[in-house]
């Protein structure tokens, strides 16, 4: 892992590809796009937990909903209150 990190930093390569890390994009607090996810762990209107290589990502908010779900990309809409890595 350290070698990969070193190579990615030395060659300025995208870490989300080299290290398989999630790429999380926020549009205001209305929409979150998570690329490189590892699946949904729990799903609810107030809290959604997503598995990622960097750990379990917990999204808390109001009226959360899954707008898109594919193998690589996951889009969540709603009013986002907090993003937290649990492990």
């Amino acid at each position: 892992m350290d070698l990969r990190r070193g190579v990615s930093e030395a060659l300025d390569l995208p870490k989300e590809i080299m290290l398989d890390l999630p790429l999380i994009s926020l549009m205001g607090r209305e929409e979150i796009t998570i690329e490189n996810h590892k699946g949904i762990l729990t799903y609810g209107e107030e809290s959604i937990r997503i598995g990622t290589k960097a750990g379990t990502l917990c999204i808390r908010g109001e009226d959360l909903g899954l707008k898109q779900l594919t193998t690589d990309v996951l889009v969540i809409t709603g009013k986002v209150v907090a993003l937290e890595f649990l492990t």
């Binding site: 799903y43 899954l66 707008k67 898109q68 779900l69």
Partner: protein, 388 residues
């Protein structure tokens, strides 16, 4: 959901509903959905079908409607393969009609097949045909062709002062005034001249009297005003038909297909006749695509033809007016009408006027001089000098 996404099934608009979730998935993934639901112990309930595939499914069993839609789409595609409107932009000196007529010769005209039009060739040909155009762009957008042109800078009028030429009379007349700017005047006030007579000669004698003189040829320049006469003849019948409008107005709607009017319900005119005014004409279009169907609204102003007659005096007065107007049209900006005299011959059914208009008019016209035409230095090349 994880299992589905792992198997490449695209899910969207996922929302919780009670203890379960409601989601949207492609129709082709129903087998995978069933299999995943069975494996995970979930109950799968199809709540509805939507989107384009579901809409297509609605047309099952409606062959005529489907055929109609297909025919409409094919017809629209077919009609959009033609050029319907040609616009010309940017022209000032070159007439739009001239450009359109030439484009028609090149095959670019309304109802022409769009794919058969070579815009590059038309661009080049227009540039060659019209020297006043310096740049052309022929663009096709939808069923419209826009020809954008840029014209050259207008050349200043070049007055040729080198080529020797005479000023001659362009009509018979009596000289009133002669102003020679260059050249030798050959006539004076009061002289009677015939058409073609030299008024100001290109020959100029250089040198003082008694000394050596030689002839040079110049481009004669000047203004010659003369009194001229025009023969006039006009005839007017004593009985004629006059339109008397009844005041009745009828409107008519016409549908045109490919420029051909389909006027099935024409208003009944009875014994009257009518002048037709087009109130509006609108070409139908779907977005940018012009459909070769247009709607026209016409107004029929009904009139009857009534027999009228005019007296000989009325006819004479009208003839005098007609003669004056005809003469006014023939006079140039430099000329003016001095007098119009007419003699009227009365017949049983008409009055004929024969007369003469007396005008003051400019009669000078340039003509290349016979002598000195080939002289480059302004002389005729012969030795005309005295004593040398």
């Amino acid at each position: 959901m994880n299992m589905l996404s792992y198997r490449g099934v695209y899910l969207w608009d996922v929302e919780t509903k009670g203890a379960g979730v409601r989601l949207k998935a492609p129709m082709g993934s129903m087998d995978t959905l069933s299999m995943c639901a069975e494996k995970t112990g979930c109950r799968l309930e199809v709540q509805g079908y939507g989107g384009f595939p579901a809409k297509i499914r609605r047309f099952h069993g409606r062959q005529v409607l489907t055929a109609g839609i297909l025919l409409f789409a094919i017809g629209l595609y077919f009609l959009s393969s033609f050029i319907w409107v040609i616009k010309v932009e940017g022209n000032e000196r070159v007439a739009k009609e001239d450009i359109l007529t030439y484009c028609q010769e090149l095959g670019l005209k309304p109802a022409a097949w769009k794919r058969g039009i070579n815009t590059e060739k038309i661009t080049k040909d227009i540039l060659i045909q019209f020297p006043d155009i310096s740049w052309v762009s022929v663009g096709i957008k939808g069923t419209d062709v826009t020809i954008k042109v840029a014209e050259t800078i207008q050349k200043a009028e070049v007055v040729d002062k080198e080529t020797p030429c005479d000023i001659i009379a362009n009509t018979d007349g009596v000289i009133l005034k002669i102003t020679a700017e260059r050249g030798t005047p050959k006539v004076k006030e009061g002289d009677v001249v015939k058409k073609g007579d030299v008024l100001i000669s290109s020959e100029v004698l250089i040198g003082l009297e008694g000394e050596a003189q030689h002839t040079e040829y110049v481009a004669a320049e000047g203004v010659v005003m003369a009194k001229i006469w025009q023969q006039l003849t006009e005839e007017l019948p004593l009985s004629y038909d006059e339109k008397v409008y009844t005041g009745a107005i009828k409107t008519n709607h016409v549908l045109s297909f490919f420029g051909q009017d389909a006027d099935f319900i024409r208003p009944t005119l009875g014994d009257s006749e009518a002048d037709v005014d087009v109130l509006f004409e609108k070409d139908l279009a779907l977005g940018d695509f012009k459909i070769p169907i247009s709607l026209k609204k016409e107004q029929y102003n009904l009139y009857t033809l009534e027999k009228r007659s005019r007296t000989v005096d009325e006819a004479k007065a009208e003839l005098e007016d007609i003669l004056r107007k005809k003469t006014e049209q023939s006079v140039s900006v430099y000329g003016k009408i001095e007098k119009i005299s007419a003699q009227y011959d009365e017949y049983t059914d008409c009055v004929r006027a024969t007369g003469q208009a007396e005008l003051t008019e400019r009669i000078d016209e340039k003509r290349k001089a016979e002598k000195g035409r080939d002289a480059v230095d302004g002389t005729d090349g012969t030795n005309d000098t005295n004593g040398q």
